[in-house]
């Protein structure tokens, strides 16, 4: 019989604090692929594509600023046991994922690297010409990273996740293909309603607090007149808000969009000053009992409601889901 003892294992054994050993971990890995995602959107999509072959844990709650997420012991634990770590990438989770991966010391992830769903995303927007902080604090070298608010994100991410799962579990490739195709079909059903909503929204003008809804606005043909932040990541200044109010009145902007983590009172005051209304939108899927396509349904409905619009008749967007 061969024994494999590492120094850390011996020290922990002495302390009586031995965690499940590598053999146990290997057995579990054959049964269930452990996936950790940064945002609930990716967790939902990974569950739909991976089905019973995966266990998915998520880091972000769904309501916080994704540029700064407070890490917790449980995040380190699940990340240390993960087979696949999935993030949006494009520097969205840049301020906390490197630290999480470093401190969790998962050698499998350290060598393979995280799966960056945003790699190869077509139509990136707001790519800075120069990497200069006079242009703002939240400067993302690869462009605006909030691609999870684009209607095409779900299928795009699903295909990326499917490909990675097939590499990890080639014996289940057919199942992953089938589940991915079913998910794309599900989203396509919802997307019909999103397209109809988009027709109604096209050409309307909007202001954001922080430019995190740019993909949603662009996909719906909304014209982005400006942002309450004078530069990305720089809090609104009185001078900037005064100029923006004049611009909003001139261009008849009726809606100011802001996320749950941005100061709602500032958005409300700025909107009222220009005769507009502030509308809070979620910036990602919520953690419990939510799905990415339901989140996109809510986002589109919220935009309709923001302008007091209604679709003429019911559409199949709320049709049956696969659970």
């Amino acid at each position: 019989m061969a024994f494999s003892l590492s120094l850390p294992s011996c020290l922990l054994a002495v302390l009586g604090l031995v965690s499940p050993g590598p053999e146990t971990g290997a057995r579990e890995a054959q049964e269930l692929l452990r996936i950790v995602t940064t945002i609930p959107d990716l967790a939902d999509i990974a569950r739909r594509v991976g089905g019973d072959a995966v266990r998915v844990d998520c880091i972000a709650r769904g309501s916080e600023n994704l540029h700064s997420v407070r890490l917790r012991p449980s995040h380190m634990v699940v990340t240390s046991k993960a087979d696949i770590f999935i993030q949006v990438g494009l520097a969205l989770e840049h301020s906390w994922v490197p630290g999480l991966l470093e401190s969790s010391r998962n050698r499998r992830i350290a060598i393979a690297g995280p799966l960056n769903v945003g790699d190869g995303w077509p139509g990136r927007i707001e790519i800075p010409v120069t990497l200069d902080r006079t242009a703002g604090v939240d400067i993302h070298p690869l462009g605006n990273p909030h691609i999870n608010l684009h209607p095409g994100f779900g299928p795009f991410a699903a295909r990326k996740i499917r490909d990675r799962l097939k590499e990890e579990r080639p014996q289940s490739a057919e199942m992953f293909d089938e589940r991915c195709a079913a998910y794309e079909k599900l989203v396509a059903g919802h997307a019909k309603r999103w397209s109809r909503i988009s027709e109604l929204l096209k050409g309307r003008k909007v202001v954001q607090y922080h430019k995190e809804f740019s993909y949603l606005c662009k996909a719906n043909g909304l014209e982005m007149v400006g942002a309450l932040e004078p530069k990305p990541g720089v809090p609104p200044t009185p001078g900037h808000l005064a100029k923006l109010a004049v611009k909003m009145r001139e261009q008849e902007v009726r809606v100011v969009l802001h996320g749950p983590w941005t100061p709602g009172r500032v958005a409300k005051d700025a909107a009222q000053r220009a005769g507009a209304r502030a509308v809070e939108l979620q910036v990602m899927t919520q953690r419990e009992g939510d799905s990415w396509h339901a989140f996109m349904d809510r986002s589109h409905e919220a935009l309709l409601e923001a302008w007091g619009l209604e679709l003429q008749k019911a559409e199949p967007g709320k049709e049956k889901e696969d659970g």
Binding site: P8, S63, V78, E102, I111, P235
Partner: protein, 383 residues
């Protein structure tokens, strides 16, 4: 675990080249005490940092600090992570793993100064040259346990950020004490090297809270004090001394669902034993001697901080400790501070500090601090 564990390290990360950053920290202060009074501008530091991976199994960092008086290499270390799951080995010069605070540079603290008891017993900042093994292990799904053990040949405190000592800081635990300094032989037996150890566990509390408990040790098995020469030309030194510091810490952090508000509470107790300090006994004769204060001393600090939005935080810190001298007079330092972040890369802080001593030497200070970060600033430290 700090809100931004890694700060802005990888804001402009590069897969091959180290992330480079620069931090500038300065203060304008008014101090009123028995020895000092008046206003002063201080450039506490301009610090250059670099860090990045060398390969999948190797990682390194470097920090060079400069102010108007000195340039010092405060950190330069390599990390090897290829020895097993959740383990690492670090070698070089780096801040010691003691309590919740000592790995963090003063300018990155949420408090305006290092707590007084830490300054007194360990020094404002305490890098050591040596090696450290570090491992953490999950206990269940919501608790992480970590321990480290380090061996160092050199450990000298250096300091900026203490207002009440002329010319900066002094630390009994690390370096000079008035004209008497701590002395470590250049080469020693393996058993005489400085040892550090820490064990800590951190656990989720509900969905928004984190609780952490830890204990730390620093042991100097062989060192001496030296105090220059007396009037007769004889060197004043005492060798063959030993000293240890043990600490217990606990902390609790909570943040709101949207992550913009939060509370942090912490408490740390320290006890120091052995040869604590020395002073020159000079009775006016040509010959003098060094009197070593052998015994024990203890102290603690506690803080409460509240972030009421992303840009503003308020805190109170109290630290009380027995001085490292005969009679162990008690000092109590209380700080109230407000930190404002105009942007993620700029911090403005106002602090009022009061210090009371059993010996009747009371001091007050008002501090205005400005800190700016260029590029990818960050220091590696374990939780």
């Amino acid at each position: 675990m700090p809100r931004l564990y890694w700060g802005q390290t990888s804001r402009f990360t590069n897969a091959f080249n180290p992330a480079i950053g620069l931090a500038v920290d300065g203060t304008f202060s008014h101090v009123e005490s028995d020895d000092l009074e008046g206003y002063k501008f201080d450039l506490n530091l301009a610090e250059l940092t670099m860090q990045g991976p060398l390969s999948p199994n190797w990682w390194g960092n470097f920090a060079l600090e400069a102010n108007t008086e000195e340039v010092e290499l405060s950190e330069s270390a390599l990390y090897y992570t290829g020895i097993g799951e959740r383990s690492s080995l670090r070698a070089g010069k780096f801040f010691i793993d003691f309590g919740k605070q000592m790995q963090i540079h003063v300018h990155d603290l949420s408090t305006p100064q290092r707590p007084a008891v830490l300054r007194e017993y360990l020094g404002a900042e305490l890098p050591g040259t040596g090696v450290q093994f570090d491992h953490w292990s999950p206990i269940g799904e919501e608790t992480a346990f970590r321990f480290s053990a380090g061996l160092f040949s050199d450990m000298k405190s250096h300091g900026h950020g203490s207002l009440f000592e002329e010319g900066g800081d002094h630390g009994h635990g690390g370096e000079d004490h008035d004209e008497v300094g701590m002395h470590l032989e250049d080469r020693r037996e393996l058993s005489d090297l400085i040892m550090t150890a820490r064990a800590t566990a951190m656990k989720d509390v509900g969905t928004n809270g984190i609780f952490q408990l830890g204990t730390s040790l620093r042991s100097l098995p062989e060192f001496g004090f030296e105090g220059g020469e007396d009037d007769a030309g004889d060197e004043l030194e005492v060798d063959g001394l030993d000293q240890s510091v043990i600490g217990f810490d606990l902390s609790y952090g909570w943040d709101s669902d949207d992550g913009t508000k939060g509370w942090d509470l912490g408490l740390e107790f320290l006890r120091m034993e052995g040869a604590l300090a020395a002073e020159v006994v000079d009775d006016g004769l040509p010959t003098a001697s060094l009197d070593v204060y052998d015994g024990s001393a203890q102290g603690w600090f506690a803080f409460v901080e509240h972030d009421w939005n992303q840009q503003n935080g308020f805190g109170v810190m109290v630290s009380a400790f027995e001085h490292l001298e005969e009679g162990a007079p008690m000092d109590t330092e209380t700080s109230i501070y407000w930190s404002h972040y105009p942007t993620e890369y700029t911090r403005f802080r106002v602090a009022a500090i009061n210090r009371e001593s059993d010996e009747g030497e009371d001091s007050q200070a008002l501090l205005f601090q400005l800190t700016g970060y260029f590029g990818a600033h960050g220091h590696p430290y374990n939780w």
